[in-house]
């Protein structure tokens, strides 16, 4: 049996083992680039009962971070300041709101993030805050509590008004009203005796008969209306025809007027020519008349100029 131990080998092996252990630990603890976190602040105006450190922060149901700090806001002691660590890859913008949501019946609470506008500008850090601040909205319980309070107040008011409505005076009035109603009902009952009901039945029957007759009459009325429409159409056509005739007559009259105008012009021209001819004829007749007058006074003048010439002055 060889008990000779190579201590050098053992030492080297131990060193290699420790090195591998450190490397593994570092690999395990080293945060990847994708898993880089961003811290945000959320101020809640309500109690954060059930919210613990490392409580999850979810975005649309997906766990994107955790709560890393819980404290009362130093500037406003009515608020709780919650610091959360959220993955940088989470789309947080100015429209993102945080809401406390109960996790089943365990009493634990987580922060649910909701985004209203996907195209809102990214959330930036303000100068007086350490990290960017995500707005918070009241949780379901807060809303429920508020609503319940309002509802209780309204109910209380309603009860007070009901109490006022049913005071003694109103109760008396109501009793009187009910009594009068009873009287009226009794009278109606008296009025609606058998004869009256028979009469009403008879009237209803008559109305039925009238309705039936009207129903029978309606087709006739429809036919009458159709005929009226047809007659109206016919009248319209007649009027159109008359109008067309008048238009044609107007054209004809216009043509006649033009013809008359032409005839008038021709007649005027003819009259002028005739007047000219008449004038020439008149001149001829005057000359002829003068010759005849001269011969009448001395017929022998046709051959012998026997008549004594009456000499004019200067001749």
């Amino acid at each position: 049996m060889n008990n000779k131990v190579n201590y050098t080998f053992v030492g080297i092996s131990v060193l290699i083992g420790f090195s591998l252990l450190f490397a593994f630990t570092y690999w395990m603890l080293k945060p990847s680039n994708d898993e880089e976190m961003q811290k945000y602040l959320i101020y809640f105006d309500e109690s954060v009962f059930g919210l613990n450190l490392d409580a999850p922060v979810k975005f649309r149901g997906i766990s994107v971070g955790k709560v890393v700090d819980l404290r009362i806001n130093k500037k406003n002691t009515q608020q709780v300041q919650v610091t959360v660590e959220i993955r940088k890859s989470t789309p947080i913008n100015e429209s993102t709101v945080a809401k406390l949501t109960a996790q089943g019946i365990t009493g634990l609470t987580y922060i649910n993030l909701t985004q209203h506008k996907h195209n809102a500008p990214p959330l930036k850090k303000r100068e007086d805050d350490k990290y960017p601040v995500i707005k918070s909205v009241p949780s379901f319980f807060e809303n429920f509590e508020n609503s319940l309070g309002e509802m209780t107040a309204e109910l209380s008011k309603t009860l007070q008004k009901t109490q006022k409505l049913f005071d003694e005076k109103n109760q008396e009035e109501l009793s009187r009203l009910l009594s009068k109603s009873a009287d009226v009902m009794e009278r109606i009952d008296t009025m609606l005796d058998d004869n009256t009901i028979k009469h009403i039945h008879s009237s209803a029957k008559n109305i039925d008969d009238i309705t039936y007759k009207i129903d029978k009459l309606v087709p006739n009325i429809d036919a009458f209306v159709d005929k009226t429409v047809e007659w109206e159409r016919g009248i319209n056509n007649s009027f159109d025809s008359i109008k067309e005739t008048y238009l044609q007559m107007d054209d004809k009259m216009q043509n006649m007027a033009n013809s008359f105008e032409d005839a008038k012009n021709s007649f005027e021209t003819l009259a002028r020519e005739l007047e000219k001819t008449m004038k020439e004829s008149q001149y001829l007749m005057i000359d002829f008349q003068e010759s005849v007058d001269s011969l009448e006074k001395s017929p022998s003048d046709i051959i012998y100029k026997k008549r004594a010439i009456h000499k004019a002055p200067g001749e």
Binding site: I286, K311, A312, P313, G314, E315
Partner: protein
């Protein structure tokens, strides 16, 4: 015998040709251009028709009539070369054309339509002698009527009457005086039309 009869008839007829007549004088009245109306810058675009003058029968003849006392005679050796009714009409047309009041002045014979019609009536255009035939004067009397052809209504009217003593106691003196009177009547017409047009 038959031949002698022909010769006799021929001699009788030809003796008519032996009748001698004194030489005839024909008178024509040609008026000078009138300058009494200042020519308008832009004449009226409307048309004026000048109708033939309406005259008595003696003024439609070329015979030159005169009145001595109360009797009317005609000159034997003097006559108008144109009928007075015609040359009076021409004188009026010419006077109106030269006045340039109307761009278009047409005579009665024109076929064109007109806006206005001028009718004239010559009552007197003759030479007068006293009974002793020692004095003579010419007289003109004419009336003008401006008519709207659309309404056939008289728009305006004017009467011109004047006498002018004759230079000589013969036809020539009468013609000269009548010529002067016609010239004055034409001028008066042009002035009247210009005045009426401007209204």
């Amino acid at each position: 015998m038959k031949q002698l009869l022909y010769i006799f008839v021929s001699v009788v007829l030809f003796t008519a040709c032996s009748t001698t007549y004194p030489p005839y004088s024909s008178y024509d009245i040609e008026l000078k251009s009138s300058a009494v109306v200042k020519k308008a810058k832009a004449c009226s675009k409307e048309t004026l028709r000048v109708d033939n003058v309406s005259t008595s029968q003696p003024l439609m003849s070329t015979k030159m009539y005169y009145v001595s006392g109360v009797e009317s005679y005609s000159y034997t050796v003097s006559e108008w070369s144109e009928r007075p009714s015609e040359f009076i009409t021409e004188a009026f047309v010419t006077a109106l054309q030269k006045s340039n009041v109307f761009c278009n002045v047409i005579s009665a014979d024109s076929k064109a339509k007109s806006h206005y019609l001028l009718e004239s009536r010559v009552d007197t255009f003759m030479q007068y002698y006293n009974e002793a035939q020692t004095k003579s004067y010419a007289k003109i009397s004419v009336s003008f009527f401006l008519i709207d052809t659309k309404t056939q209504e008289i728009i305006a009217h004017m009467h011109f009457e004047k006498e002018e003593p004759c230079e000589s106691l013969d036809a020539k003196g009468g013609v000269k005086a009548l010529k002067k009177l016609l010239q004055e009547a034409s001028n008066a017409l042009a002035l009247w039309i210009a005045g009426e047009e401007c209204k």
